[in-house]
């Protein structure tokens, strides 16, 4: 289970600690001539360089008719670029030991590179990355093949209880908002996607003005400036707004029971949660550590696993996005005790919202978050991820230094007030996949917003 919890933390936040301020990396920031925003930490401890280029080009920019377009565009970037076939790209990168990768969520699409910093290797890897970013070809033959593979995977996902639950959950929480779309699309939407769609999406969403370049590692400032410019100077004009439509909070509770032959029920409960720049973010983050984010010491873990042995994994987290991303509680439990487990989770959440947290719990949460700060920035990989996040969400450059103070200042009263403002236990969406078969159906229950 901890795997999941750690992931939850990663999508959460970084935490600071005043006395360790000197340990936070010095972030250099500038705008490249191309218009891209650049964030750089110079560090020569290891002979390697990490680079990430981020764009507001996630699945939140998809439409219902063309769901999956953003993801497919992102996925095809490295499968053919001017003067290079997909095999050329893969082979040349492998020859210099470079790793080209990427990230994709509802807000953001990114291309990442890890390379040795020796000049010959580095130059070759960066040349390929620049081409992939700025001259992708989206070849027809590759598109046709990747659509077939994607459709096969989408069909496969439709058989997996966790994937079925995640898809139904997003729909239940976000309705028609693009955050509710399946990130990789649907079989019927992917089938219709054409090369011209990818070209258009790329041209409008991969512009330099909205690009955020992060660099971490063994290059000088001057080299970093040249690299950032070379990766963005030939990007398309872009120009589409990076804003995502406002998320509308649900006004009634919903419960969806989906049959599945699995031995366990997969349960998800949630609602739209909090935006990245919301003033309530810190109280919610610290509070959620106590509710279901803090590993074995969280309330959900205590109630469901430690006291009753009903699940291996039970957690809660916020996914802070440009717009409020999901607040989500999840667990898997043997089918015949799913109803009981659900009741315990709901009672725990309700009590948490009504009664808030104790001073003792808050102290323990702060101790973990603040004392654990150094672990959040102990590698180049972790630091570059924060550079990308800080740049993409326009967070202040002293974000890492400030975080501790902001965590330390959170009070019991603020947590209670923030949760009361954001989370309404009476209007949560609940999805159960693998519900006992005789019960499987859609239930709509009315709840009232308080």
């Amino acid at each position: 289970m901890h795997t999941k919890l750690l992931l939850a933390c990663a999508t959460g936040m970084v935490l600071g600690f005043a006395s360790l301020a000197s340990a936070t990396p010095t972030i250099q920031h500038w705008q490249a001539p191309s218009g891209a925003q650049v964030y750089f930490v110079e560090n020569h401890n290891l002979p390697m360089l990490d680079v990430a280029v981020n764009f507001p080009a996630g699945s939140g920019f998809d439409t219902e008719e063309k769901a999956g377009l953003a993801s497919l565009t992102h996925g095809l970037l490295e499968l053919g670029a001017e003067g290079m076939s997909e095999d050329d790209i893969a082979r040349k990168l492998a020859d210099v030991g470079a790793q080209l990768g990427g990230g994709f969520d509802a807000d953001r699409a990114s291309v990442t590179l890890r390379t040795l910093s020796i000049k010959t290797e580095r130059d070759e890897a960066l040349t390929i990355m620049a081409r992939v970013l700025q001259r992708p070809l989206f070849p027809e033959s590759v598109l046709a093949r990747e659509k077939i593979r994607l459709i096969a995977n989408l069909k496969e996902a439709e058989t997996k209880p966790d994937a079925i639950a995640a898809k139904a959950f997003s729909k239940a929480v976000f309705g028609a908002h693009p955050y509710g779309l399946p990130p990789s699309g649907e079989v019927v939407t992917v089938e219709k996607l054409q090369r011209v769609d990818l070209d258009e999406f790329y041209s409008s969403h991969y512009g330099a003005q909205n690009a955020v370049v992060a660099l971490m590692g063994d290059v000088s400032r001057a080299e970093a400036e040249a690299i950032a410019q070379s990766l963005t100077s030939q990007l398309p004009p872009g120009g589409v707004s990076r804003e995502i439509a406002q998320v509308v909070k649900q006004s009634s509770a919903s419960k969806l029971l989906i049959p599945h032959p699995a031995t366990q029920s997969h349960i998800l409960i949630g609602a739209p949660g909090v935006a990245r720049n919301d003033a309530d973010y810190f109280p919610l983050y610290v509070g959620n550590y106590i509710l279901g984010g803090g590993g074995f010491v969280s309330r959900l873990m205590q109630e469901v696993r430690e006291k009753r042995g009903m699940a291996y994994s039970v957690y809660s987290y916020f996914i802070p996005m440009q717009q409020p991303g999901a607040f989500q509680i999840g667990l898997q439990t043997r089918k015949d005790q799913a109803d009981e487990a659900l009741q315990i989770v709901n009672a725990t959440l309700r009590d948490f919202i009504e009664q808030g947290v104790s001073e003792k719990e808050l102290t323990a949460a702060k101790q973990n978050i603040v004392n654990g700060f150094p672990l959040r920035i102990d590698s180049n990989k972790k630091i570059i991820d924060y550079l990308s996040m800080i740049g993409f969400y326009h967070l202040p450059l002293n974000y890492l230094d400030d975080f501790p103070t902001r965590v330390s200042k959170v009070s019991v009263a603020e947590i209670r007030a923030a949760f009361k403002r954001k989370i309404y236990p009476d209007v949560m969406a609940t999805v159960i996949v693998g519900a006992p078969e005789e019960k499987s159906k859609t239930e709509k229950t009315e709840g009232a917003l308080k």
């Binding site: 030991g97 290797e121 096969a152 366990q264 042995g309 004392n371």
Partner: protein
């Protein structure tokens, strides 16, 4: 916590542990054996003010007996359930309050526990970890709850995961004598009948300082770590360990085939060949050649299986290969593929066989070989970005009966593998008498699908 170590982790470790920068691994590594037999290894890395403590016990699921499979992993769970002086749940609370992250994992070969903390918190971690090395309280009540958690874990990870289920049954069929035939998490029926006494026996038998390796990596000074280790672990008496059984797997006399039916859309074909693991890092050659072979087939995006089967022929939706050369027991060299829509499993198998035939007939190119070695060299640098991973590598080596000093030897040997050796090893290992073919036969979800029959295998 309590996660089963994935097969891939080991594969990764062996490959990543290999490079031209052989001297790096030996750098800043210090070793001391305490009077009670506990081996302490310190890897100094001062890049960030953090550390990791790992305690590795040389006891994994392969040391279990029929009827009590899963007990190594269950004990791992129970290690968080309190000692004479630290009540249940306290361990996690104290590590959490110190800002730490903790976890544990069980494999076929070993069981390991770790904490990641600020560099000032080593004493707390040592105090708690040394306490549960000797003072664990295994109450019937806690056991009764925790075994339910483990059964939920099994349902989640295996019973409801068709690929994991296929792998479990593949192992069960591949190994007829070697205990690798049993899943790490244990058979469900065994989990249902395990008792707290089984856990107590396991703890008594294996949890002793002379059966453990302590690895500390990070922003620490070796001498200080040794002194602290002496203070906390040094007082734990050593115990006579049971004589370890020697297992082997006799040659397979002909191809085996199994099918596993489970709710899924896509079939999966796995072709697994019995393969040896590294025993003598200086003299062995086959494991190194197999490692390179796996790299040629699936070590990067341009490797053969992806290039030919997925991209060019488009006969597979995905394809891969794997080999884990570092283990206490024998290994399998695996090829796997998901056929494209409209392609039968038989056609998929023929396509994989064609790749094997090409390998045996034509060998590998100089460029392919160089590419795999370049990956390995780069990975050795990238590896140093993770203190945790560096400690893992040391702990794994020590836990499987090898020495962390073997790592640079392995790197050199891997770089020295020739194209001829790769071709020879393909010829020697990838043959039908040595092969198990396992097929996931996807079943529709609708139509009142019933639970999958536990433990059933279909060997032909």
């Amino acid at each position: 916590m309590h996660k089963i170590l994935l097969q891939q982790l080991l594969i990764l470790s062996f490959l990543l542990s290999s490079s031209g920068q052989a001297e790096e691994m030996g750098k800043n590594v210090f070793e001391k054996i305490l009077g009670n037999g506990l081996k302490v290894i310190v890897k100094e890395d001062h890049r960030a003010p953090v550390l990791v403590q790992q305690v590795w016990y040389r006891a994994g699921s392969m040391d279990e007996s029929t009827g009590t499979t899963g007990i190594a992993h269950v004990l791992e769970h129970m290690m968080f359930k309190g000692t004479k002086s630290v009540p249940a749940g306290e361990f996690s609370k104290r590590i959490a309050a110190a800002g730490g992250r903790e976890n544990a994992f069980t494999s076929y070969d070993y069981t390991a526990y770790f904490q990641q903390l600020h560099k000032d918190k080593l004493e707390l971690a040592m105090k708690l970890e040394s306490d549960r090395m000797q003072n664990l309280v295994l109450s019937d009540a806690e056991f009764a709850k925790e075994i339910q958690v483990v059964m939920e874990e099994r349902r989640m990870r295996t019973d409801d995961e068709p690929h994991a289920l296929l792998f479990e049954k593949l192992m069960a069929v591949s190994f007829q004598e070697h205990p690798y035939q049993h899943p790490i998490i244990g058979w469900m029926n065994d989990l249902k009948t395990l008792t707290a006494t089984d856990a107590r026996n396991w703890y008594q038998r294996w949890y002793a300082p002379n059966n453990a390796v302590l690895v500390v990596a990070g922003d620490v000074k070796a001498e200080e770590v040794f002194a602290m280790a002496q203070r906390y672990y040094g007082t734990i008496p050593s115990r006579a360990l049971p004589k370890r059984k020697q297992f082997s797997e006799p040659p397979q006399l002909g191809i085996k085939r199994i099918a596993v039916k489970a709710p899924a859309e896509l079939p999966l074909l796995v072709m697994a060949y019995h393969a040896p693991t590294l025993r003598d890092p200086q003299q062995d050659t086959i494991p190194y050649a197999l490692e390179v072979l796996a790299g040629v087939l699936d070590g990067n995006q341009s490797a053969r299986l992806n290039k030919v089967l997925v991209r060019e022929q488009q006969i597979a939706s995905s394809a891969g290969a794997g080999y884990d050369g570092a283990a206490r027991g024998p290994s399998l060299f695996t090829l796997e593929a998901t056929p494209s829509e409209g392609v039968s499993v038989a056609e998929m198998e023929a396509a994989l066989r064609e790749q094997i035939a090409v390998l045996i007939r034509d060998g590998v190119s100089v460029q392919e070989l160089a590419r795999v070695k370049a990956q390995v060299t780069a990975s050795e640098v990238y590896k140093r970005d993770s203190v945790f991973y560096q400690a893992m590598q040391i702990g794994q080596m020590e836990s499987i009966g090898m020495n962390y000093r073997d790592i640079p030897v392995m790197l050199e040997k891997l770089q020295a593998v020739t194209a001829q050796q790769v071709q020879d090893v393909a010829h020697e290992i990838l043959k039908d008498d040595n092969l198990i073919v396992a097929v996931l036969d996807p079943q529709p979800l609708s139509g009142k699908s019933k639970r999958i029959n536990e433990g059933a295998t279909h060997a032909h």
